[in-house]
Every structure is written in C-alpha cells, then in structure tokens.
C-alpha cells in the first residue's frame, strides 16, 4: 500500500517520532479510542483520534539525512556541504543503494515527503536532545521547507509511559528549540568538515607518495581519543622497570600470621636492609586503638556514563552495548531516556507510584522495605545536570516480553540502583589498630564490621572479610607483640595499565571530548579503522601508531583535547544563543585550513611513514603470481627509485644468487588489484585496474600481441569482465 491508497484524509495532525517503536508507544498512549495501524511497505503508521483531531503518528529511523559534499569528485580541501538522504548512493547522483537498510530509509522518506505538505499541523516527537532536534528539524526543512520548519510544534518527554506522554501532549512547545537545533547541525557540519578533509589529506598523501590506496581516517574527536591510547602505549612499550624495596613485617597473634606493610618505599637496597635490621632488633607495641561508626550514603542517580561504567565493571558488557540495550529498555517504556548527563531525578517524579509498581514484580517485592520516607535527603542527588533529561530511572512498567540475559542485567541494575538512592545509609564500624614499629614507623590495620547494611543490601554488595579479625579484636592498647618477622622485598615500577572500554570512556568524559551519545561509538570507529585492537584492554596498532605520529608531528592541535573542548563550548554557546552557527563554522574552517597546510608541507615524510606501517616489510605483500622469467620468485608492486613509477618486480631481485631483475610496467593511475585471470593472447598474468572512470584488465606482458588493441578497446575489456 502507498500513502495514497491508505485513505488518509485531511485534515490531520502529523506526529513524527524518532523510531518506529516509539511511534507505536506514543499512538497507544495518546489514542482515545482505538489505534488503526496502516502498513506502507514495511513501515507502520498509526491513525488515532485525540481531542477531536485526527493524528497520524509516523517515525523516522534515527537520522534519515546526513551531511555530504556539495559537488562532485574528491576535491581537496572541500568546504561545501549539504544534507542528502541516506539512501542515495553518492553525493549528486540519484542512484539508490540496494541494501535493506537503505530501502527502508527510502520508504520512510517517501512517506514523510507525502504526508508533511498535507498535514494541517506537525508535531515533532523525537527524543529531546541535540540529536533529536536535528533529526526532526532536518526532516522539516528538507521535506517541508522553511515555513513548516518554523511553525511545527514540539513535544518534550523523558519516558515513554502513558501518563508522561499524555501530559507532554497537553503541554506542547510552540516550536522546536531552534538554538538546540543550530548547535546540533553545527556539530554535524564541523565533524564532517574535519573528518572528510583530514581523512582525504592522509589518503591523498599516501596515494601520491606510494601509488597505493588505503582507507584512512581521522576526525575532530577521533584524534584526541586515539591520542590518549597512543600516549599510554608509548609509556607501556618503552617501560624499563626500576627496582625499589618494601619492608614487610609479619606479626603472630594466636599463631596467626598478620602482615603489616610499611607504607614507605625504599629507594635503595642498602637503606631498606639497614632499616629492616633495626626493626628486627627493636620492639613492636600497640600505640592506640580507635573505633568509630562511619555512615556511607547511597550512590547517586546514574547518568549514562555512570551506568556504562558500573555495567562494565560488574558484567564486562562494553559501553556501546549498554547504551544500545538501555535504549531498547527506554523504547519499551521500562526506563527513562538513557542519553543523559544528569544525576538527579525530576523534582515532581512520583516515587510512591514507581516503588509500588516495581514491588509488583516478584524480584523487587523485598526491596520496598528498604525505602525511606521521601524527604529532604531522599532520594539522594548527584552534582551533574542536563538541561534536557533527568538521571536514568525505572518507570515501574513491567516488561511485556521476557528480557534476555544482558537486558535483564542492565534493567535489574537500574531498578536496584533506583531503590538504593531511596534507601538508608549503610553504617559500618571501623576499628583502627595502630602499631608502633620501634617508635619510628606507625602502621595501622583497620577492621570493618557492618553495623547496618542499608542500601548495600539493595545492590547486593558483598562485604569484604577481614582475615583473622577475631585475633585482632583481642589486642589492647599498650600491648607488646612478642613474635614477629621482618623482611625486605624487591619490587619493580610498573607501566600504567592499558585503557579498557570503561576507562577510555571516562578519560573522554573527563576531558569533555565527544558527547554522552557519541563517545562509545567513536571508540568503536577507532577499532573499525584498525587503529585499536583488543576487547578488554586497548592496544594501539602499528597503523594507529603511525597515523597518530603523523598528526602529532604535523598538526598536534587536532590530537589534543583543547580544540574539541573549545568546539563543545562554542556549541553550548549556540544553544544559549550567545554566538551564531556561521561564526563557529567559519572559525572551524580557518583552523582546519591551517592544519591541512601543515600536513601538505610535510607530505613526503608522511607518505613514507604511512607506507612503512600500512605495508611493513614483514607483512605479506600482495603477490601477483609467479615470475614468468625466473619461474620461482613472486611478483610484487614496487616503486622505481629513479622515476618514482610503479611496476611489478620479482622478489628474487633481492636473492643474491638469482638476482632476477624481471620488471613489468604498470599503469600509473588507478588502484591495482590481483586477479586469477590469464591473458587469452599470451597466458601472462592479468591485473585489475580501477580508476574513478572505469575498471579494466591489464596484461603485464609489455610485448603482448593483444595489449595495444584492447588498451583502448572497451569491447575487449568487457569480454574480460565476464565471468569474474
């Protein structure tokens, strides 16, 4: 069915949600009678009635447009951009990608394009943040035009529960937030400008200097993120352990060995040994014993990075996966919007209702008793705020489907953390026993005993056990320790630990790099580009090392957090209407241009450095078949030292006994790929040549009887193309 056939009659109000599942939730929440589901292609749109108006609720699929180059070719540098639908094959062309995802985007695009001009009123119902504003705003601008963009209404909500959605519908905002929108699109423009130009600079340099092709990239946020890992890697890989010494004293109480560790490290072996001897001759007695109760407040309401960090610590689920799952839970109306920085609940949140609803789930009945009456200091709050959304909390709704194991782990954590923020303090008694070692060093041991578990019980936190606490309890002030041993231990300085998904995310957050919504994805991109490897701890690859080395030497600024932080601050200023988008973009371009010039001036060195790491000697070079001259060597692409031209040479050239100097010229333009084809005329190896304009086959034999004929004859090339 298409939109025409679906008998959508005007007048109607068009509602645009961010994702199909959100559209369905919204329809069910707002419908006064029934929900009519209309299927167009594979998309569903929902027809409902509310307050005597016909509402059509439809959805985007996240972004359906992206920023692309305005114009053809791989111009460099390029500063002209526009928005284009994601289903298009390449900029400027109208060809449509055939994959299912692009087909879906095309269908959504068609539906929106048809409905937007016909609608009497439009309400944007995407998620309320920078990205949501961009998704909705660009759809309005591209498919409806400026007037519709200026007049469409905005619905603001943080959970997909019925009550909140109904309330939000009654309190529609008159327009989208134009400042938020401007800040969001500016981010897209800057990311595009930096990403495409820096990546092209690397690739073009590599191609010009080596005649080879490799997909390389970097960007505004990628650079500084990779730099963290790079700096750490350098420290790890060049670490030389240096010795130092510690003195360990083992006292015996009831024959139980108890270690006392002198905090101080000794720099020299001699000094450590001398001290140890002194201690052995001296006396150890109990200087004092202090006991006190310590209150520990519950953890604060979590924002996205708190959640990602805890889930990684507890279950080793990587941050990007935690976000994806949290988003699914949000779309299932089980939790509030997860892309948030806030550590506070909404002021008017009905905790009693949520607690009662959660207590209906059998897993959580027992948690209700830990909840304190809501008053000034409950629930607890953290310091961080977010203008768009509160901290993450459960809505109280029951899952309508059984959650899978990972989904359950994350949901369960969110529920328990919610209860914990409302629960009693945890109290423990800490008894500190201070030992005097020869009247020179004070060493203490603390025994902790839980007095009241409080919120710790809600979060199932295990208490650490003290070893030999019964024996330690017997000690009194002034007592002498009769039996003890003293020994020195040689230790070594260790390199800093590698980053793991959680610690790298925290480092980005600390340095204000990226946004809560994009950080995990950036780390993923670095992995996809082959710059990082490893799952639980990140190691930089040879390629990552080289790319960073090049950027660092030639334009250090794009590898440091400062630029990215400045951009974030400018974007925040756009949000507050303190600066306009064009100024920020212009500043960005001026800056970028300087960086590109620096890279250009160093192109020779950059090309060589990249070549060494993309194609290190020890790695298998592409082999283009057996050498037809010596019959034992393999052919590989090499660059002639005197002319700089590329050719196929024999590996036996380096073999001092054979020293085969077979050499076959290659076309100098385009990418060369190996094939299994043999030339029909002389049986020589054929290679594939790929340029922007065409793809053809090339017989490597310079004397080939047919080569001249088909060099320009497309028929021959076509024949050769078949059966490939």
């Amino acid at each position: 069915m298409n939109v025409q056939e679906s008998k959508i009659r005007t007048p109607f109000v068009l509602c645009i949600a961010e994702k199909p599942s959100a559209a369905k939730r919204i329809a069910n929440a707002l419908a006064e009678k029934g929900v009519e589901q209309i299927t167009i292609g594979k998309e569903s749109i929902y027809k409902i009635v509310r307050k005597n108006e016909n509402l059509i609720i439809t959805a985007a699929s996240g972004h359906i447009f992206s920023v692309v180059q305005d114009g053809y070719g791989s111009e460099f540098p390029t500063y002209d951009f526009k928005w284009a639908p994601l289903y298009k094959k390449s900029r400027g062309s109208n060809e449509i990608k055939k994959d299912p995802y692009s087909q879906r985007i095309l269908n959504i695009f068609k539906i929106l394009k048809e409905l937007i001009p016909k609608a009497e009123k439009i309400i944007i119902m995407t998620d309320y943040d920078q990205e949501g504003e961009v998704i909705g705003g660009i759809i309005l601008k591209e498919l409806g035009g400026e007037k519709i963009f200026r007049t469409a209404k905005r619905m603001k909500f943080s959970t997909l529960t019925k009550d909140e959605l109904k309330l939000a519908y009654d309190k529609l905002l008159p327009t989208i937030d134009f400042n938020l929108f401007e800040a969001g699109v500016t981010r897209h423009y800057l990311d595009w400008l930096y990403g495409i130009n820096l990546s092209r600079a690397l690739m073009l340099t590599y191609k010009r200097e080596t005649s080879k092709f490799k997909s390389l990239s970097t960007g505004r946020v990628q650079g500084p993120t990779l730099r963290f890992v790079y700096d750490r890697e350098i420290k790890i890989k060049s670490h030389v352990p240096i010795p130092f010494w510690q003195i360990k004293i083992r006292i015996f109480i009831d024959n139980n060995p108890i270690e006392l560790k002198i905090e101080k490290n000794f720099e020299a072996e001699k000094e450590a040994k001398r001290k140890a001897e002194e201690f052995l001759k001296g006396e150890i007695y109990i200087e004092k014993i202090e006991a006190k109760d310590v209150r520990i407040s519950p953890p604060v309401p979590p924002n996205l990075s708190n959640l990602q960090g805890e889930i990684y610590r507890l279950y080793k689920i990587p941050p990007e996966q935690t976000l994806a799952i949290a988003e699914k839970l949000y779309l299932g109306a089980l939790i509030s919007y997860p892309r948030t920085d806030a550590q506070q609940y909404p002021k008017d949140l009905n905790h009693i209702e949520i607690i009662n609803k959660l207590a209906q789930q059998k897993n959580y009945i027992s948690l209700k008793k830990f909840v304190l009456p809501i008053k000034k200091n409950r629930p607890v709050s953290g310091k961080k705020t977010d203008p768009a959304h509160p901290a993450i909390y459960p809505t109280g709704e029951k899952p309508d489907k059984k959650l899978n194991s990972k989904e359950f782990k994350i949901y369960d954590y969110i529920v328990r953390r919610y209860f914990a923020t409302l629960a009693e303090d945890s109290i423990e008694t800490r008894k500190k026993i201070v030992f005097s070692i020869n009247k020179q060093e004070m060493v203490s041991i603390t025994i902790t005993k839980p007095k009241k578990r409080g919120w710790k019980q809600v979060l199932n936190i295990k208490e650490a056990k003290n070893k030999f606490s019964e024996s330690l309890e017997k000690l009194r002030e002034g007592m002498n320790i009769e039996k003890f041993e003293v020994k020195t231990e040689q230790k070594y300085t260790t390199p800093p630990p590698r980053y793991n998904p959680s610690s790298l995310l925290k480092e980005m957050e600390k340095n204000e790099i990226g946004t809560k919504a994009t950080r995990a994805e950036i780390i993923n991109t670095l992995k996809k580009r082959g710059y990082l490897q490893g799952k639980e701890s990140f190691e930089i690859t040879e390629l990552g090392l080289t790319v960073m080395e090049i950027l660092k030497q030639n334009s250090p600024i794009i590898t440091l957090p400062d630029l990215t932080r400045q951009v974030e601050q400018s974007l925040a200023k756009i949000e507050r209407a303190e600066i306009d988008s064009n100024t920020v973009i212009l500043q960005g371009i001026v800056y970028l241009h300087k960086v590109l010039l620096d890279l250009h001036n160093e192109r020779k060195n950059i090309g060589q450095a990249l070549d060494a790491s993309v194609d290190p000697k020890n790695q298998n070079k592409q082999n283009y078949g057996t050498c037809p001259i010596c019959k034992t060597g393999k052919l590989e692409i090499r660059i002639a030292r005197n002319t700089g031209k590329r050719f196929l040479g024999c590996t036996n050239y380096f073999n001092t006994e054979i020293k085969c100097n077979a050499s076959f010229p290659l076309p100098q333009k385009g990418k060369i790929e190996k094939t299994n084809k043999k030339c029909p005329a002389d049986g020589y190896t054929m290679v594939k040549v790929i340029t922007n304009k065409r793809i053809w086959y090339w017989c490597i034999n310079p004397e080939c009887p047919e080569r001249k004929k088909w060099g320009k004859n497309s028929d021959f090339a076509k024949i050769n193309n078949e059966g490939d």
Binding site: H239, I242, P243, F244, E267, Y492, T494, E549
Partner: protein
C-alpha cells in the same frame, strides 16, 4: 619524538632512523630510540639502587628475564632493543 632524520634504517624494524644525541652508537627508529634511551637511564638508576653493581650486559640480561615475572612489566620496544644489543655481542 622529533629528531634529525637519517638515511639509515632502524636495524630492528627498518623504519626511518633518528639521531638525537651526540653519544649515539646505534641509529634506531623513534620508538626504539626512546626505549634505548630509557634503558640507558635505567642502567644508572639500577646501579645507584642495588648493593651489588651490574655490568651493562648483566643488566640487560636481568631486565630481559624480568619479563617472566609479569608479561606487562618490560616494554615491548625495550625487549626488542635488548635482544638486538645482546645479539650484537
């Protein structure tokens, strides 16, 4: 890690070598040079701290054996350089 570029290649991995100080005996690439530098600094530190002084070779040998203690203790480039230096002798 910027230095004067040399025609020489790093004997360990064939990358472009750098010349950084006057006392250079070997021309390593930037990374191996850095590791070599740390090793030389380390030698002085070790001998300042230990009761029994080590010769340069004993020192290299000790560091190389430390890697058995924990895999992450000795840097990879440091191991490369030590293996290269010990082979040279």
């Amino acid at each position: 890690m910027k230095g004067i570029k040399l025609k020489e290649k790093c004997p360990i991995d064939g990358k472009i070598a750098f010349l950084e100080g006057k006392d250079n005996t070997y021309f390593f690439c930037a990374y191996h040079y850095f590791a070599y530098h740390n090793l030389k600094d380390g030698y002085h530190l070790w001998n300042e701290k230990l009761e029994k002084k080590l010769s340069w070779e004993e020192y290299l040998d000790t560091i190389l054996k430390l890697k058995d203690k924990s895999d992450n203790l000795v840097g990879e480039w440091v191991k490369d350089v030590i293996s290269f230096l010990l082979k040279k002798q």
